[in-house]
């Protein structure tokens, strides 16, 4: 039997894939088998890259009033990627891309994860913004109230007040 991919060499490898319960069988020659192992082959015809491009595809314009032409001219200051580059790759070029094209990525995050609001761990070197800290404290406050830990609740409440005072002064 000839290789199903190149159609030239004798098929020597038998590859069976089960993706989400869907079984497929492929007969490949040694070089094609080596080439495709773990690559997009297993996810084709629905490749991850294409899927992500779609997710990043029709995001909102980066700023109001910007035309399509204006958008493609914007480049990330650190790596030089344009929005088109990112869409083609389905991936960001660097951390600054996220800042430059924040709205697009934020919309993509909502589509992929159903959320664009991180609640997990954060680097201790990055200072938490007062707004975010107040949000966290408010969560802790309601938890303390539910648990009837009133002393703890009072301390948290005072901290929230102090932070809100600071915010107001700015």
């Amino acid at each position: 039997m000839l290789c199903e991919k190149c159609g030239k060499n004798q098929a020597t490898s038998y590859i069976e894939t089960i993706i989400n319960g869907d079984k497929k069988v492929y007969h490949l020659c040694a070089s094609c088998a080596q080439e495709v192992m773990g690559k997009d082959f297993f996810t084709s015809p629905f490749s991850l890259g294409g899927f992500l491009s779609g997710m990043l595809g029709d995001g909102p314009a980066i700023s109001q009033g910007s035309t399509l032409q204006g958008r493609s001219a914007v480049k990330c200051p650190l790596c030089g990627s344009t929005l088109d580059d990112i869409r083609k790759a389905g991936r960001a070029g660097c951390a600054s891309c996220y800042e430059t094209f924040f709205d697009t990525f934020s919309a993509a995050a909502k589509r992929i994860h159903g959320s664009a609001s991180h609640t997990g761990r954060r680097p201790s070197r990055i200072e938490i913004s007062p707004k975010r800290r107040i949000k966290e404290l408010e969560k802790q406050l309601s938890e303390a109230v539910v648990a009837q830990e009133y002393e703890k609740a009072a301390t948290i409440r005072d901290e929230i007040r102090a932070l809100k005072g600071e915010e107001g002064q700015k």
Partner: protein, 344 residues
Amino acid sequence: MKKFNNSDIYRDIAVSTRVRLARNLKDYPFPGKASKDQEDAVINEVYTALSSNAKQKKFELTKMEGLSGIDAMSLSEKHMISPEFARAKNRRALITSQDKSAAVMVNEEDHIRLQVTGAGLCTEECLKEAQEIDGAIEKSVDYAFDENLGYLTRCPTNLGTGIRVSVMLHLPALTKSGDIRNVIAALGKVGLAVRGIYGEGSSAKGDLYQISNQLTLGATEEEIASRVNDAAVQIIEREKGLRAAVLQSGDRDVVTDRIWRSVGVLRSARSISSDEAASRVSDLRLAVSAGMIKDITFDAIDEMTSKIEPATIESAAGGEISPSERDKKRAELLRSMTRGISLD
């Protein structure tokens, strides 16, 4: 594989647990977009951070360029690195802890892919250790982070926590009954994925499956780890129930006969393919779990599973060998590793 406390509970079905964190350095373009010098600088920064801040552990740096293709593939078969990382080795480095429980791939898809692996079901322990190492790196490195999007990763599917918690389960009964399809469908609905043993979508060799979270943004690391843990426990209980039912049914003799034949093959074969070996070893695992065989441990079976992979055999043989030669070596390895099992 490292053993954490409690990792013996469910050890007969839960083979291993892995927690992976994706991180990037703020000031460098992501791998692929970075220049050669920048990629080298990333390796340097990460290794220096680990060796100076995580003093309780010893770390070893391996430049991937220095490894042969076979040795790199063997590391991927042992799940120390991804298959993708083994294929393109330029300016990539692997940093491992001395006890091999922690491995940091530098310049994979992200600057840092940090993983901690343990035997059995131990999501909490792996997460804790991964976070300790993450904290040690972060002491002297500026991570790419955004208040709303969390840790910034090259691919938006990893944003937020950048975490992937996965548990490898041995599910022969669910596989043979076909119920695994229902499990896969149910998990998909709660944002969890099921894959075959070799990561991104390969077949379920040896009835081994990997359960992992798909979503990384919106929940905390602890919530994600406990979701995967709870799903794994449910699947384990279902697998146990099915096994018990089979062993009480009329199929008992058929299954018992198959298991003993497999043990016979492992103990006596002179040449065996990778696929046949995987299925025979799966039977052996089942036999130990059912208490039919007591002369071999799960640790030994895990070791066997990784030693009989193609590149690992070649790596041990010191270079490329023909497939038929490999099948012979595999049979040799299996015979010597199952020698202690009595056939009576």
